[in-house]
Symmetry: C2
Subunit: 119 residues, 2 copies
Amino acid sequence: MSKPRTNASYLSGIPELLVLSLLARRPMYGYELIKAIKASTRNELEFGEGCIYPILHRLEAEGQLSSREEMARGRSRLVYSVTSSGRKQLAERVSSWERVATAVNDSLRWGDHEQPAMA
Amino acid sequence: MSKPRTNASYLSGIPELLVLSLLARRPMYGYELIKAIKASTRNELEFGEGCIYPILHRLEAEGQLSSREEMARGRSRLVYSVTSSGRKQLAERVSSWERVATAVNDSLRWGDHEQPAMA
DNA sequence: TGCAATGCCTCGCGCCTTGAGGTATTGTCC
DNA sequence: GGACAATACCTCAAGGCGCGAGGCATTGCA
């Protein structure tokens, strides 16, 4: 209530896309990944743990990620890597994102320059 | 079930953005708008009536749209226009979308070319 | 006569992010 | 030595939102 909540737009599916994309470059553990997302988007996007951890679990259950435990300074970490199946999914998701982004931009500019505008 | 529904396609907030954007160019009625969205995105994006009509009603209730009734061939139509308040909202939504799209693309390309690489 | 298209509407399902909450260890500062 | 932040994992309830299906009425075409 009272909290307008008008933000948080345009983000459905984005966390999953970025998780796969970043993990494909370098295996990471959850906590690290959350900060990597923030850094890689220049602090523009930030997703909480309640968003990322469930995605990690689900993608692993689906065979798109695999994890191994690691110990570092007394803390255990679950380091995730992208499987070959996950890479395939990633490619599809990226192209899907590009199609959507292009479509939206097309619509936003629709009718802007009806004529070729040869100066 | 059985419908995989793996879609989940980056679309939250997009319908509202496109509704405001297209209506800002030209007043339209709901049915027309639904087809305009499809056309303006080259058939890439299509939103059902169950998605668009509620948005129209909400935006009007919020003062971002205004409507007037029109008769055409025995059918009545509700033609919506964007108010000045709606135009302000539209500008914000567009820039918000651009920031998100840029952030996602930044992340996807993160580390690709560390150096500027100006050919 | 029947069916598709036009034109409006509502409702419930299910997905997804958010935010808050919980646990445990390590490092830091006073 | 005690408090607190940071690290690192996890879960759950709430709410937003698109989707699909459904409903109603008229026009136009076959």
